[in-house]
């Protein structure tokens, strides 16, 4: 007997439970909006600054190290362990002055940490580059989402695209909430994480919408509410299967693929979960309010099987 994640004849009333799920969605969206005002923990990619990743030959005393680095008067210094106690990440703001002032700052930090330590990464990002990166990334994301929505509007009806937008906005806001309130660093890979979430969510939504469209044609007399429920239940097995395989892969990354990829996978794990939720519990029930054109409802064309040659 094969493993069955979801029994095949579920009759869950997703549409009936919409007030609960809408409330949850609104709560997450509010959390995200307030997160935006709470501010994001922008990484060096975005706000500019210096980052050093160093592998120390012995476990350092962080308190002393912090004091010594602060004594350099380079502004705020952030020291973080990455992975092991011997692996440190040191972040400093950009210094006033020209290129040489930036180089000097790095030399001073290296002198405190010890010149013969193993420097695994040293990076400097100018403020202008950082600002542009945010803008370019956001522009690319916005355009990509717009293109996808136009496609949905063309292939389906504009009402479907409208519901997809709401679900997408919800997913992005939820991730924003995560980044802001959990204080996760927001850098260029975070934008990619949001993109993956949005892409996955829209994919998921389309699969369900596709079934709704099909059932709308098949069962012209059935109430919209029942069609939505029927379609959601019919596709539930697929929704759960794909979400599970994706989450399995991501969880493997989270635990096994080292600190950088691990940090990258975490928001995607949340994003995939939220994306599945919004496809089922937000985008689809919302169709109820969209006055979908139903066409002629005189007869049900019940297709038993497709014509096969």
């Amino acid at each position: 007997m094969a493993l069955q994640l979801v029994p095949h004849n579920t009759k869950i009333d997703f549409v009936g439970g919409r007030f609960i799920t809408f409330c949850l969605a609104i709560f997450l969206a509010v959390l995200g909006t307030s997160g935006y005002f709470n501010g994001l923990n922008f990484g060096v990619d975005f706000k500019g600054g210096h980052v050093l990743e160093v592998h120390m030959d012995k476990e350092p005393d962080l308190t002393t190290l912090r004091e010594n680095l602060n004594a350099l008067n380079l502004g705020e210094v952030v020291i973080q362990e990455i992975g092991t106690p011997k692996d440190l990440m040191v972040k400093v703001e950009l210094q006033d002055g020209d290129d040489s002032a930036q180089g000097n700052a790095i030399e001073k930090i290296k002198a405190v940490l010890g010149a013969d330590q193993q420097y695994r990464k040293v990076a400097t990002v100018g403020p202008k580059v950082g600002g542009e990166m945010v803008q370019n990334a956001l522009k690319a994301v916005a355009l990509a989402l717009a293109a996808m929505l136009i496609y949905i509007a063309v292939r389906f009806e504009w009402q479907f695209a409208a519901c997809a937008i709401v679900a997408l906005a919800h997913d992005c806001l939820t991730l924003l909430a995560l980044f802001s309130w959990a204080g996760l660093e927001f850098n260029e890979t975070s934008v990619i994480a949001i993109l993956i979430t949005a892409g996955y969510s829209i994919n998921d939504t389309i699969v369900i919408f596709d079934r709704i469209r099909e059932n709308l044609r098949k069962f012209k007399k059935l109430e919209l509410k029942d069609i939505i429920n029927k379609s959601l239940n019919e596709t539930l097995s697929r929704t759960m299967m794909t979400a599970t395989t994706t989450l399995i892969a991501l969880t493997a990354l989270y635990f096994m693929a080292g600190p950088v990829i691990s940090a990258f996978s975490f928001p995607i794990i949340i994003g995939i979960t939220v994306g599945s939720f919004s496809s089922i519990c937000l985008a689809s029930p919302l169709l109820l309010y969209m006055h979908l054109p139903r066409g002629d409802s005189s007869s049900d064309t019940v297709e038993k099987s497709v014509n096969l040659s």
Partner: protein, 532 residues
């Protein structure tokens, strides 16, 4: 019954075979790869963060280049109007916005004549008559763009030559956005030296020293003590003892470093110190001979980026096109200067706006971790698929395996750069690649429940899942295309991996698994249930 055309079979198996072939070099060592035919030698291009090295982003200061050029035009206007004996006043360079040069003609009737001679200076400029003899000289809009493009291209070329001279292997230098240049130096752990070399403008000019003024000392804040005569400027230099002082140098440039064919390190025969010997091209040789003939016993200055590095006297006409620059160089400095002179001068100053250096150990660790993560993701997803769909799950896993192989083949052929998020993208592809198969299998299961025959259920499953698969994948593909077009750096790389992943999963799900399933069903007569 099912008809499988030979052609279709050939294409499907051919594609898989080619995929294996093109992905293979990625798991071979360098020596074995070198023995392969050339078209098979491509491997996935590892990003700097994975292989280690330096990444430098430079900004070309177009504004400053632009200002220099306008100031050159101003000088030309002055000398042209003087030559043509057209009276003018108030010749000014305005640096605001795009910059312009303004002047007032003493006699506004001279406008037509003035316009004619000024136009001859440069084809890029345009002149407006602002009444009362006021003239406004600006660049033509399209000319400005053309010039900016030239400056960037030329800058890239010079940077490339300088980096090549520095001995870095496989550097990657490319334009980024409007006015940026990205320099990637694999394996370089300390970019300070390369950065210094790249950043120098290295504009070498030969000018005469002004006879009507004396050298002056520097003030406390490093400015010359005195004002240079008209048409000359005070430029800094250093004497034998290392003291800084200023020499009055004519602004007129007699000859530039652009007319060199060679520059190499040599030894000053008198002092035994390192020096740089230069060789002019034929045009430069003639010009140098002319200048030295007309100015015997006069002092001239070799100026590098606003500093006089040497100011010898022409003892006799120099006709061979050879000259020696002997400043007070160390061996390293002389060598660097010769490299810079060979590579040519930058048309505009460059500024480092971003840099990062990744040590080789971090890259190796990331690859190691990435392999581990991707491998475990693959195994777990495979187990889960078999648990869920038994034999059909195993068939989907064959497709998944080819998915990864074809993805690596595609990345190798396209020479796309694999970055850290790219590795995560591969793992994600593993999770999502089974989606098409899941959609089909779920449909087949639904059809089976309506009680139709096995073969009918399979065909209906494929047919009905098709629109969904195409719609959902096309949307994502569209998104990836937009990201590729408008994104930069890692986002672009991610878009390539994503698009490749989608196309390949479409191929494996709609051709490969379908084929295997059909072949399997064909060999089993009288099937009543499916292992799904």
């Amino acid at each position: 019954m099912l008809q499988l055309s030979k052609m279709k079979l050939l294409i499907i198996f051919g594609t898989c075979l080619l995929g294996v072939l093109f992905a293979l070099p990625n798991v071979l060592d360098q020596k074995t790869i070198a023995k392969l035919p050339l078209f098979l030698q491509n491997t996935v291009n590892l990003g700097l963060e994975l292989r280690g090295g330096s990444h430098i982003q430079l900004e070309v200061d177009l504004k400053s280049a632009h200002k220099d050029y306008l100031s050159h035009i101003k000088d030309e206007v002055r000398s042209t109007l003087r030559k043509e004996q057209i009276g003018y006043t108030d010749l000014k360079l305005v640096t605001k916005d795009k910059g312009n040069v303004t002047l007032t003609l003493l006699n506004s009737n001279d406008f037509a004549k003035a316009k004619k001679v000024i136009f001859k200076i440069d084809s890029y400029i345009t002149i407006q008559d602002l009444s009362n003899g006021n003239l406004n000289i600006t660049f033509k809009e399209d000319a400005l763009e053309k010039r900016n493009k030239q400056i960037i291209e030329q800058s890239i070329e010079v940077v490339r030559r300088r980096v090549d001279e520095s001995g870095t292997k496989e550097p990657n230098i490319q334009r980024q956005g409007e006015d940026r240049i990205i320099v990637q130096l694999p394996g370089v752990e300390d970019p300070a030296e390369v950065k210094r070399m790249i950043g120098k403008t290295a504009k070498l000019t030969f000018r005469l020293v002004d006879n009507n003024a004396q050298s002056v000392n520097a003030t406390e804040d490093g400015k010359p003590m005195g004002v240079a005569p008209q048409g000359a400027e005070y430029l800094m230099t250093t004497d034998h003892k290392g003291n800084k002082y200023f020499i009055p140098v004519r602004k007129e440039v007699k000859l530039t470093g652009d007319q060199l064919v060679d520059a190499r390190i040599t030894e000053d025969p008198r002092s035994g110190q390192p020096a740089v010997s230069i060789q002019f091209d034929s045009k430069g040789t003639r010009a140098f001979a002319e200048i030295s003939k007309n100015n015997v016993n006069r002092q001239f200055a070799m100026v590098l980026d606003d500093t006089v590095i040497s100011a010898p006297v022409f003892n006799e006409p120099i006709t061979g096109g050879n000259a020696q620059i002997s400043g007070r160089f160390t061996y390293k400095e002389a060598n660097e200067l010769s490299v810079l002179l060979r590579a040519g001068s930058l048309p505009a100053p460059l500024k480092v706006v971003e840099e990062s250096t990744v040590g080789p150990s971090l890259g190796a660790d990331s690859i190691q971790h990435g392999k581990q993560g991707v491998g475990i993701a693959f195994v777990l997803v495979s187990i889960f698929m078999i648990m869920s769909y038994s034999l059909f799950g195993a068939i989907a896993n064959i497709a998944l395996t080819f998915n990864i192989i074809l993805l690596f083949a595609g990345l190798s052929i396209l020479q796309a750069t694999l970055t850290l998020p790219g590795i995560a993208g591969i793992a994600l592809t593993i999770g999502m690649a089974v989606d098409a198969n899941v959609l089909i299998y779920e449909r087949i299961k639904e059809e089976l429940r309506t009680g139709v025959k096995v073969m009918v259920a399979i065909q209906a499953g494929y047919k009905r899942a098709m629109t969904t698969i195409l719609d959902s994948n096309f949307t994502t593909l569209l998104g990836a295309a937009v990201l590729f077009e408008f994104g930069s750096g890692p986002i672009k790389g991610f878009a390539v991996t994503l698009a490749l992943g989608i196309l390949i999963s479409l191929f494996t799900a709609l051709s490969l698994t379908k084929l295997i399933i059909y072949l399997w069903v064909r060999n089993k007569k009288n099937l009543t249930t499916l292992p799904i």
